[in-house]
């Protein structure tokens, strides 16, 4: 039986507003527990929510970026259920009148984009002295009320790797928009996946299960892989898939069922009477449109058109900080090929790891100047990267001066280089003999010797020419 998986994703992303969604508490980044709360986000009696304008602006930017239809009027609903991380006994979310509908990113269609508030954090602390024999947990309301955007896709994905790549594109898009920094490890992006299997070409969807709360790209991939395997084994053995919600444990690789049927939720959604409708006017739409800028998918296409490798195009498009650094190098450069400049920008990225170029001492113009020096043969590529670029990253400065100060300029005086070549031939008589006999590869040790002797400053082509000249070839 040829079973084809169908996957839809629901992604929650924390928005980088300054304050929470419905109150003026600042968002929390590791502050001590329960120090970012107020009557509203603690759900005190009598407190009322007031919507953060910036969360709507960010929601509209996302809507634009994903090509959604922006609802002229949308409303919030209450989603009622009891849980200690939910201070009011309901979550303010959107239900049948979301901010945005439709749209797509890459090949995947978007069903809806809506806004809601995040829950607080619940930390299990073990056995409590107060409640005999039972586990006890502590609620920290710092995170409670952080604005979230929920993006729901259509079931357009068909394997786990495809889902991972698409999720990375969505995360890059959010980062590029500046609406979220998408720190997955810190839970600022969380993904649920709906997975089902059906015979290929049947045009039908199988019974789906929902994988909840995966918080890294690789967990998403592994979780979906595990669930596809589980469903495939069931179906191939003639059993049926039961609709349920599952948790994927990335450490064990196990899938466990979260809710049994008797606990099926009845959220009793109804329009939030403490909030008024959101009516999107032309000015709000325009402001969001202007704030969107160039998106990763567009940027990849533009970079590839400039001649960049696909790898570099994706790398710069997905890391906005790297992309804008590359743009700056490009505009500072005079005549160098974009492909060459991209290679050097990638060197910078490799040297910095997770850090952004902005955080180093390197100026884009300095990198452009260094690439020009290499192009002009004034410094060889090797020392340019290992010596000059390293110093530019740590201390900044003028590349030409650094070449001079470090004494790594290309050797262009024939006398010095000729001496080094003569010495190298003398050191490798066997190689010289084989070279004379027509074995072109034998030149390696001789050139290597010259390079070592000149600390890489010699130009490889020139060395080869001189060796041949000296041996009368």
């Amino acid at each position: 039986m040829n079973l084809q998986p169908t996957i839809g994703l629901e992604i929650h992303v924390q928005l980088d507003t300054r304050t929470k969604m419905f109150c003026a508490c600042e968002l929390s980044f590791g502050e001590p527990p329960n120090t970012r709360t107020c009557p509203v986000c603690l759900g005190l009696p009598g407190a009322l929510p007031v919507l953060n304008a910036q969360s709507i602006h960010f929601g509209l930017m996302i809507g634009h970026a994903l090509g959604c239809e922006l609802a002229p009027q949308s409303i919030f609903h209450r989603k009622n259920y009891f849980y200690p991380d939910l201070p009011k006994g309901f979550q303010i979310s959107q239900y049948d009148a979301p901010l945005c509908r439709g749209g797509s990113l890459g090949d995947v269609r978007i069903d809806r984009v809506h806004l809601e508030e995040d829950a607080a954090k619940l930390n299990h602390v073990g056995v409590s002295g107060r409640i005999h024999g039972a586990g006890s947990s502590i609620v920290d309301f710092n995170r409670g009320g952080t604005p979230l955007v929920e993006v729901v896709t259509e079931p357009d994905l068909h394997d786990a790797e495809e889902a991972r790549v698409w999720l990375a594109l969505l995360a890059a898009t959010m980062r590029q928009l500046g609406v979220s920094d998408v720190r997955m490890a810190e839970g600022s992006l969380r993904c649920d996946a709906n997975v089902s299997l059906a015979p290929a070409g049947s045009g039908e969807l199988g019974v789906k299960t929902e994988l909840k709360n995966m918080n890294s790209f690789s967990f998403v991939k592994r979780g979906i892989e595990a669930e596809i395997a589980r469903q495939r084994a069931l179906l191939e053995s003639g059993a049926e898939v039961v609709q349920q919600t599952l948790h994927f444990d990335p450490r064990s690789g196990n899938l466990t069922s979260l809710r049994s049927k008797e606990e099926a939720h009845d959220y009793r959604y109804f329009p939030e009477p403490d909030l008024v409708p959101i009516a999107i006017d032309e000015e709000m739409v325009q402001r969001a449109r202007e704030a969107v800028g160039e998106l990763p998918a567009t940027r990849i296409a533009r970079y590839e058109h400039l001649g960049l490798s696909a790898e570099h195009a994706h790398q710069f498009a997905f890391r906005p900080a790297l992309g804008s650094f590359f743009e700056a190098v490009l505009s500072a450069a005079d005549g160098a090929s974009p492909r060459e400049l991209a290679t050097w920008t990638a060197h910078v990225a490799a040297a910095l790891g997770e850090r952004d170029p902005d955080a180093s001492a390197l100026e884009p113009a300095a990198l452009a100047a260094l690439v020009a020096l290499v192009g002009a043969g004034r410094v060889a590529a090797g020392p340019a990267r290992t010596v000059v670029l390293a110093r530019l990253l740590s201390q900044g400065g003028d590349p030409a001066r650094i070449v001079e100060q470090e004494g790594v300029g290309a050797l262009d005086d024939d006398a010095g280089l000729a001496d080094a070549v003569a010495a190298a031939i003398a050191e490798h008589p066997d190689a010289a003999e084989r070279l004379r006999a027509g074995n072109a590869k034998a030149i390696g040790p001789i050139v290597g010797h010259v390079m070592r002797a000149t600390k890489g400053r010699a130009d490889g082509g020139e060395v080869t020419r001189l060796v041949h000249e000296r041996l009368g070839l």
């Binding site: 005190l44 009696p45 919507l51 200690p84 009011k88 006994g89 024999g133 009793r268 009477p273 403490d274």
Partner: protein, 492 residues
């Protein structure tokens, strides 16, 4: 000081004129509140916490104010009449209370109420029933029963209440005072412990229409903390009208016929005649969907309440009853079972049911459509009339315990007040004489944000009613130094 001021307006004038000090009035009211036998208060300030000298310069001149327990007051018990909030002291003060204190009112007491404002008799309070000052064997009405009783008894010049389906107007009527339910959105709900968010409104309970206007004038305004509040479109002046010339009054068949007791109907008919004598025209009219208002109300209000009261879960404040098996579920359900009274449980159950899967459309969804029709009925009526007149309550104050075993009978006491709540329009109850020696109220209703005109009309009616109202006036309990025995004779 020879005679205690009869109204807040008079008290402010007396303080301004130097005939009375804010301190004297505070001490007299504080003593009367401490000695209260009606169970009208859940908290009374210390005698030492009265107004300072500077308060006299403010609009309210430091005169005492009683505030329904439903309002949060920083550091002061705010228990909403519920056991689940026993001794709860909020870290903030409700916006309307803040505004009134800023205008120079002095917080004297928190008043008893039906638990979470659910009730029409004040018998649903975890802190005991409130007695009607006109007959201590009877209820004061509810849910703002403590505020109404305290003002009617003369213990405080005025008080703050809240009205969701009649909770200001009905107790005002049953206690023989003035109660205004403003237009929805006119006053901030921030810090008012929510019962039904789309219906709750704060409002004044006073001994005169002028007092209602004075208190209301400092309650209105857009509050950045309440998304559903609006700037009041005009200033609220003190009402001065003595006539109703040229005004058109409508009397709806649906709210003045069946179910209204004889004495109340007689009083109502007398006031209709009075309206005409004052130069207005009166015509019968129809509000065809008004008979369905109660059904819609008893779906919408419980639905919202079931959600609003979900926050009382024993985690962040208030009562917690630990579970025996150590489970979270049992902690929740035992805390709520012990913390809520019977009526609150009933409405939480009703509302949960009305919103639950499979019933939403038939109940909550339908109720919201009925609400649309009720609002349309009023809009149509206000094309023909300036105001609508009804009795406030179909009966005068009933005996304690008379309706506690029959929730539906209790709910029916709201049938004249609920339609206006659903339409979000302002309505005022003013004293309208007596039925069987007990006070009766007249309800005057206007379109949204018509309060200045509504208060004016009510003022003219109040003047014309003065003789009939006097028969139910109670002696002031206030004692002033040098006038120890003068209170009984203090009224003119």
């Amino acid at each position: 000081m020879s005679a205690p001021p009869r109204t807040a307006t008079e008290a402010v004038e007396a303080i301004r004129a130097g005939q009375l000090s804010a301190r004297e009035l505070w001490l007299a009211c504080q003593a009367a509140a401490t000695d209260d036998e009606l169970n009208a208060f859940t908290w009374v300030a210390d005698a030492d916490d009265g107004p300072n000298e500077e308060a006299a310069a403010l609009p309210f001149a430091g005169i005492p104010l009683a505030v329904k327990d439903l309002f949060c007051t920083e550091g002061i018990p705010s228990q909403a009449g519920s056991r689940i909030l026993r001794d709860y002291r909020p870290p903030y003060t409700a916006t309307v209370v803040r505004q009134l204190l800023d205008a120079g009112a002095s917080l004297l007491a928190k008043t008893n109420q039906d638990e979470f404002a659910m009730g029409s008799s004040n018998e649903n309070s975890a802190y005991g029933a409130v007695l009607n000052p006109h007959d201590r064997g009877r209820v004061p009405g509810g849910s703002s029963g403590g505020s109404a009783a305290a003002v009617a008894a003369g213990i405080v010049p005025w008080a703050l209440g809240t009205d969701t389906g009649g909770s200001i107007r009905q107790p005002a009527a049953l206690c023989g005072i003035v109660g205004l339910k403003p237009t929805y959105g006119a006053c901030s709900r921030y810090g008012m412990i929510a019962f039904a968010s789309s219906l709750d409104q704060a409002g004044p309970l006073t001994r005169s229409v002028a007092d209602a206007a004075l208190l209301f004038s400092k309650m209105v305004g857009r509050d950045p903390c309440d998304s559903t509040s609006l700037a009041f479109p005009e200033a609220i002046e003190l009402p001065r009208s003595e006539r109703l010339d040229g005004l058109r009054f409508g009397v709806p068949d649906e709210l003045t016929g069946e179910g209204v007791e004889t004495g109340v109907r007689a009083a109502f008919e007398a006031s209709v005649a009075l309206v005409e004598q004052l130069g207005a025209s009166v015509e019968r009219c129809q509000l065809p969907h008004a008979p369905h208002a109660l059904a819609a109300y008893y779906l919408i209000a419980p639905a919202e309440c079931s959600s609003n009261l979900a926050r009382f879960d024993g985690v962040r404040y208030g009562l917690r009853v630990d579970s025996q098996d150590g489970s979270l579920e049992e902690m929740y359900s035992r805390t709520r079972a012990e913390g809520f009274g019977a009526e609150v449980k009933r409405r939480v159950m009703l509302g949960t049911y009305a919103l639950s899967s499979g019933y939403y459309d038939a109940y909550y969804g339908r109720a919201q459509r009925v609400r649309t029709k009720i609002a349309e009925d009023f809009r149509a009526a206000f094309e023909r009339f300036d105001f609508i007149l009804t009795p406030t309550s179909p009966t005068a104050a009933f005996e304690l315990g008379a309706r506690t075993s029959d929730p539906l009978a209790m709910y029916l006491s709201d049938f004249c007040t609920v339609p206006m709540s659903l339409a979000g329009i302002p309505a005022i109850s003013i004293p309208n004489g007596a039925s069987g020696g007990l006070p009766v109220g007249l309800q005057v209703v206007g379109p949204a944000f018509s309060e200045p005109r509504l208060l004016d009309a009510a003022h003219a009616l109040e003047l014309a009613h003065a003789d009939r109202v006097k028969t139910i006036a109670l002696p002031s309990p206030l004692r002033f130094e040098g006038n120890e025995n003068g209170a009984a004779g203090a009224r003119e």
